[in-house]
Each structure stands twice: as C-alpha cells, then as structure tokens.
Point group: C2
Amino acid sequence: MEDITKKNLAELYKNLKKMELYRHALGLLNFDFETCVPRDSKEDEANVISFFSNEYFKIATSKKMKATTVALYEHIDELDEIDKVLVKHLYREYLKTKNVSPKTQMRWSQLYNKSYIDWYNAKTNSDFSLFSESLSNMIEIAKEDVGLRENALPDLYDNLLDDCETGVLTADLDVFFAELKDGLIELIGKIKNSKHVIREDFISRKVPIYKQEQFSNYLLKLNGYDFNKGYLTTTEHPFTSEIAKNDARVTTHYHEDMVLLNIYSVIHEGGHAIFMQNQRDEDHEHFINDSITNGMHESVSRFYENIIGRSEEYIHLIYPKFHELFAEELGDVTERELYEAVNIVRPSLIRTEADEVTYGLHIVIRYEMEKMICSGKVKIDDVPKMWNKLYTDYLGVTPESDKDGVLQDVHWSSGFGYFPSYALGNAYNAMYLKEISKDMDFKGAISSGDFASITAWMKEHVFAHANVLTPKEWLSELTGKTLSAKDFLEYLNKKYSAIYELD
Amino acid sequence: MEDITKKNLAELYKNLKKMELYRHALGLLNFDFETCVPRDSKEDEANVISFFSNEYFKIATSKKMKATTVALYEHIDELDEIDKVLVKHLYREYLKTKNVSPKTQMRWSQLYNKSYIDWYNAKTNSDFSLFSESLSNMIEIAKEDVGLRENALPDLYDNLLDDCETGVLTADLDVFFAELKDGLIELIGKIKNSKHVIREDFISRKVPIYKQEQFSNYLLKLNGYDFNKGYLTTTEHPFTSEIAKNDARVTTHYHEDMVLLNIYSVIHEGGHAIFMQNQRDEDHEHFINDSITNGMHESVSRFYENIIGRSEEYIHLIYPKFHELFAEELGDVTERELYEAVNIVRPSLIRTEADEVTYGLHIVIRYEMEKMICSGKVKIDDVPKMWNKLYTDYLGVTPESDKDGVLQDVHWSSGFGYFPSYALGNAYNAMYLKEISKDMDFKGAISSGDFASITAWMKEHVFAHANVLTPKEWLSELTGKTLSAKDFLEYLNKKYSAIYELD
C-alpha cells in the first residue's frame, strides 16, 4: 500500500468514527421518536432529528470525505478485501450525493417530516386528501434526487428499488412478481375450496398485556436474542433499530384482543435483531456493518417469523409455555388448534395482519402501484381508487376506508421502493431453507429449541456474507441459484396442502 | 435599546437555539443511558454523550458566545427584565468557564464516566476501595475547576454548594443544619419512647409489578402530571428528566416486595415533573427555564411526596383505588393502617427509603462529610470509617457493608454539593405550606382530589418566580422570611405527635 493511500485510509477512518457517533445519537433520536417521546414534544424532536441529520450529512459530504473517498477509489487495488467493499459503498454514495447541498438535504428532511405528520393525520381521519400533497412531494424529491445523481439509472423507479435492494430492478421484479402472483392466486383458490375448518373462536379473546409482555420476553430469549445487547419496548408500528454495535432494539404493539399478532410481530422483529446481533466484528471495525439490503434483512426476519415461527415444530416447542401462561384465557386451545390458527389463510385488508400465503399479494399490489405512481400512469388523486380496485381484483376484498386501504402503512410517507423487499425476503429464505435442511436436522433443532445451532448456521452461511455481497451475489453464494419465486411457492403448497387437506 | 445591543441579542438567541437542540439530544442520551441502553452498549453510549457534551461546550464557550455575552452584560440596563436574568446567568457561567478549554472539559467528562463505572462496580462488589481513586479525582476536578474560575469563592466547598444552590453557603448551612439536627434528634428520641404500635406486617408483601405500574399511572394522573408532555418508565435509580419544553420524563424502580417505596418515588419524581411542566412560556422563550436550583426543585418534589403524599387527606383520597387494585395482596389493610405505615419513623441505613423524620439526619451526615472531604479533614481512605461512625452516632445504626453505607448513592461519583438541596427542599416547602394554607382550603383540596387548584396556586406563587430569583430572594418573596428549619420542625412535631401520641 502506498503511503498516500495509508494516509487517506487513516483520514477516512477518523471521519467514519465521528460519523458513527452521530449515527448512534440519530439512531437513538429516531428510536425515541417512535417509542417514548410524548405527543406534544414530537414536533420539537423532529426538528432535533432534522438538525443532526443535516450535521451528519455535512460531515458525510464534506470536501475532505469526498476527496478521500475518490482518492481511495482510484487506488482501490491496494486495499484489503473488506476495505474494498467499504470504499465501493462510499464511492457509490459519493456519486449519489456529490451534487446535493446540505441546504437541499435539509429541505427534503423537512418535507419528510411534514409528510409523516400529514400521513398520520390522514390515517387518523381516514382521509387520503390530507396526504396527497405530501405524496406528490415524495415523487418530486425522488425526481430531484435522482436528477442530481452521477450514477442514476434511466428509470426513476429503478433508482428507488436500487436504493433498497441493490441491483434488483424492475426487469427482475416483473418476472418475479408475475410468477408469485399466479402461484399465490392458484393456491388461494384451492384453499378457498377446502372443506377443512380451522377453529378460530379463541383468536380474539382478551389476554392481559402484562402476560403478553412475559411471553414476548420468553420468545425473544428462546430464539437467541441477547438482552445484554438489546431492549424490548412498545410502539405504534413495530420496528427494529440498530443503534450501536451492541444495541439492537425490538419494538412491538400489544392489543389485548390480538395475542397472536404480537407473538408474530415479536418473532419477526426479533429476527431482524438476531441478524444485527450476529454481524462479524470485522464488519463493524471496517464500517460496513449496515450494508445489508432490506430484502436480505426481511429474509431473516421472515425466516424467523414464518419458516420457524409458524412451523409445527415451533408450535410444539412453545405450546407448553403458551398453555401455562395463558391458561385462564386460552387453556382450552390444543397444540394442533394453535398451529392451525397461526396458519389460517384468508384474504384481508391489512398487510401486517395477513397470513403467509395472501401476504405476497399485498406486495404485488404495492409493487404494481409504485411502478404506476413513479411512471405517472396513475395520478396521485386516483391512488385510493386504484388501490381499492387492485384489492378487489386480487384479494377479493375492498377497503371501506382509506385508513384500512392506501393509508394503512407509513412507508410511502418517506417514498417508494421498500415494499418489494418483503416479498424478496420470502423468496430468499425459501431458497436457503433448502440449504439449512441439507446441512443439519433443522426441524429437530426447532422442536428441541436448539437455536444455538440454527444461529451458528445462519451466522456462517447467511449473516457473514450479507455485508460484502450484493443480494444477487449473496443468493448465488447461498443457494447456487438465481432469484425465483419457485421455492417459496413450493414451500407454501406443501405446507398448506397438509393443513387444508388439499389434493 | 441600541442597535448594537439588538444585534447582539439576535446573535445570542441564534446560538441559544442551536444549544437547545444539543441539550435536547443530550437530555435524551442521558435519559436513555439510565433507562433503556443495554448493558453491553453502555460504554459506547457514554462515549457518545462525552462527544456531544464536548461539542455543546464548544458552542457555549465559543468566541462568539463569549463576546456576545460580555457585550450584552455591559449593556444590561438596556434589556427587558427577563433578558437581564438571562444575561446575568450567562455572564456568571462565562466567568466560571472562560478559562476551561474544550480539551479540559473532555478530560473531566471522561473522568466522570470512569467515576460512574467505578462507583457502580464498587457498589456491586460492596468495596469502597474500587471507588476511592475516582472519588479523589472528583476532588481534583473540583479544585482545578474552581481554580480556573474568575468568580471563585475563597472556600472550595462553598463553590460547589453555590453551583447547586446559588448563594446558600456554609455560613447559612452550618446554622441551618445545627438547628435541624438538634430538632430531629429530640423528636426521634420522643418517638422512640412512644408506646404506639404501627401495624407493619403487610409492608413487604409481594405485589405484582404490573399492578404497581397501574397504580403509578393513576397517581401521576391524579396529581396533575400531563402524559401528553411526559413519559413514565423504569430505571435503577429513579430520576426525572426535562428533555424539552413538552417532555418531562419520570422514572421509577419496581420491587415486588416494596410497594410503598414505588408509590412515594413516583409521587416525588412526579413533583419534579409537574414543576417542569408548569414553567411559564416566556421562561422557555427566553431560555431561562432551567435556572431553578436543586433546592427549589426538591422543595416541590418533596412537597408532593411528603406534605401532600404522606398526609391523612391524600391517603383518604387514594385509599379506594389502593384497596381495589391491591385487593388480593393488601385487602386487609385499613385506611388508617396505610396512613400510619407510610409514616413509620425508624432510623435506617438507606436514605431513599428513610421516613420523613430521620431523612434529615442522612443529609446532615452528608453535609458534614462533604465539608470534611473538601477541606481535607478526612482522608479519602477513611471516608467509609467516618461514614459508619456518623451513622452510629446520629442514627444509631451501623452499615455492615459499604453498599448499604457510603456507596449507596450515585451522587458522589460526579462530585459534591447536591445533598444539602434535599434538606433545603424540606425547609422551603414547610415554609410555604403556611402560605398555601392561608390562601386556600389546602387540606380540603387534597382530600377531594382538586389538584387543579393546588397546581394553580403553585404555578402563581412558587413556579413562576423560581427561574428569575435566587433561592434566598425566592424564599423571601414566597414567605417574607429567611431560611430556617423552624417551620419544618414545627410541621414534623405536630404531625408525628399525633401519630405517635406524644405528650
């Protein structure tokens, strides 16, 4: 390595260390904004977040950082493999942001804040018109942002997809979602005609929240979440947050009459956190620890939620505790009844409450709508109408209000591109499910609660590569195959044929 | 107002607004450090706090801030009354810190962090020797700090007292504590000889934490705490934190077998928060909202905890809820038994668990020890021995371990001067208790739960003046009298003569 490269690398690390301190503070501020902050202080805290995000942006796009990044990129061959990954990431970011001034970033940030508030009010009042101006602004920001990039792709939506899932663009997703949609609609049709009846009278029975809290703690611990490196609390819309290397926080939302919803929310978010808690030390040391794409992350969280959490073996494992803790409320529910209840398939309006099968169609709809919105094929004012049409066509259910329709999720208040990740996550994990099943007695490990072995396998085969590879490279290394919905559809067909006694 | 003064004032407000953003972030970081942060991330978070404290310090002591402060102080006659207060505060701070470099501040900050960790380990291991080096460092920092001040008082300890309670120095406290000590020892002696027996078999009965949580929420709401401008959570050592104008957070610690401890902790901390939530808008607008001294703050929190919370009327008010919620565990406790139990007088080792009467002696001991430590009359290594001797002499109890003795409280890990505030708080509020009793039917308001009237009185007579006056001025305006333990001792004698049937 040349001396100048050494010097540049030292300068880079100095800046990245400083940026890490800002990310820690910002991570905490954002976490607090979604959890603890009292209603009347939200606006002040949003301003604090904007201010420090902007200070962070100033450092990240300072002349020094830019010069160092470019210089190192020009000498990338002299670097270690892991620093190559780091510099490639930074150079990509550099091309994206080099023409964005801190003033522009601040303007966007304030529009995002306004958008969140507008969405919140619109949802509360179930009135899309309160959100439409901000939704238009999100398109405008996206256009302005992409217009300023030096590495922009020709199509607007492709850029947004690329931000969420590097290299997985409409060309891939059109094929993927077409396959998924057809397969799901076929399976849902079969299930609809099944005569098998699943007991569901107990699903909305009230269970006190303090008992649900106990169960949440039990589940996280069981699955291998480390409470010395994390924290569980409540929020409106559950999420997981990596505040620092040893601080991966999980949130959930308790409803007295939706005990199962909390269980799967906690397992899902716990999956994200277990991924975070098991990053390699060197990934942290070289500042590439947050290079994982959304689809990679969702593949793990949904692996825990569905492949593990909704399996017969997992229900067998947790049933004794469930039976004991909820004896008063759910003591009459058998293990089999519980297993079937967590796998009821029924088209419904709310994505986060959807079952494993119909879930994919919620994402298909989002994908098709995002494409149409970004290309201008659907006008902002017509978005709710189009939403309701697609829900009726694909899922056979029609929202009676925007609250249960187009306004249900927060994501669009900060733009587009995230939703496909959820479906990609399912596809990815159905593909590596085959691999883990070859390497170890996966089902046996679940039913005996041997999560140490599962985590060890995931760490070696899944987690260790996620920061250094693109999703396509990662999938190929994990499975030897290219992206397809085939394994996922196969997994669903097998599982639900058994439950619903299909031919 | 001259143009230059106008310009300076605008410049000052610009800087203060920026500093407020940092204080918000730091307030949150510190809150998080004491509540949510997972064990393995504490060190990282401490570093983040040090970094941003230092950035804040740089802005607060920047050339611009210094020049503006001095210029405005020289033209103070041109300012509004409230800006006069602001500039006086800032000028005082300026004289204190003008010779402290950001580098020095960072060094101190790191020593404070180390000191906290050392204290924590020392307490966990009940071994004072693990903390003695850091305790010495605290003295060294104090000496260095005071040595750099341009407005230093001749005596080291007076400076530290002045930092906590402006203008209330050893000359006042020697007299005050002598009076208090004699009065308390006399009253405790009488109570010791009382034949009245208070029922206490139920005090350590186990009460599930979720029920205690419900009761905490009930109490805070009842007393007038606004949950739209606050948040309640748990911590190791309860505290209250003003993160922003509309964000006053309360913390508590639940023990299954100490239900009363939580009740009074929540009422106490809630008192701090009610004070914070009822500052005048103009005090926030002019950045003087955190000018309240510790003694002023403790006077309010202890007013709610003791004067209100431990009164017959308050017990009458909360008893129905207590009786209903804890029916299973404490259903056999009568209203009178509860009243007497929360007022049992018994010398004990732990300050935070002490009753209203013996409490003052814990503070007398702290005061005498702080004086001796700061003047070098007791060597650091002899601190535990001296502690145990004073507890034996004054309270008749001797700690068996440092954990229950000198290491019990966190305060000394960041220096000296705070403890007298607790006793001053008692003295202050016993003095204005007389005033509120003249102006309104105070006891009637408590028993009917009319906290709106109590808050209104406190707002007008107590809260509104706390930011603009020194404690001595405030006390004089509130009561027309000077500091004395007389009213407090009178209050105690009257109350406990009735409970313990003294002559």
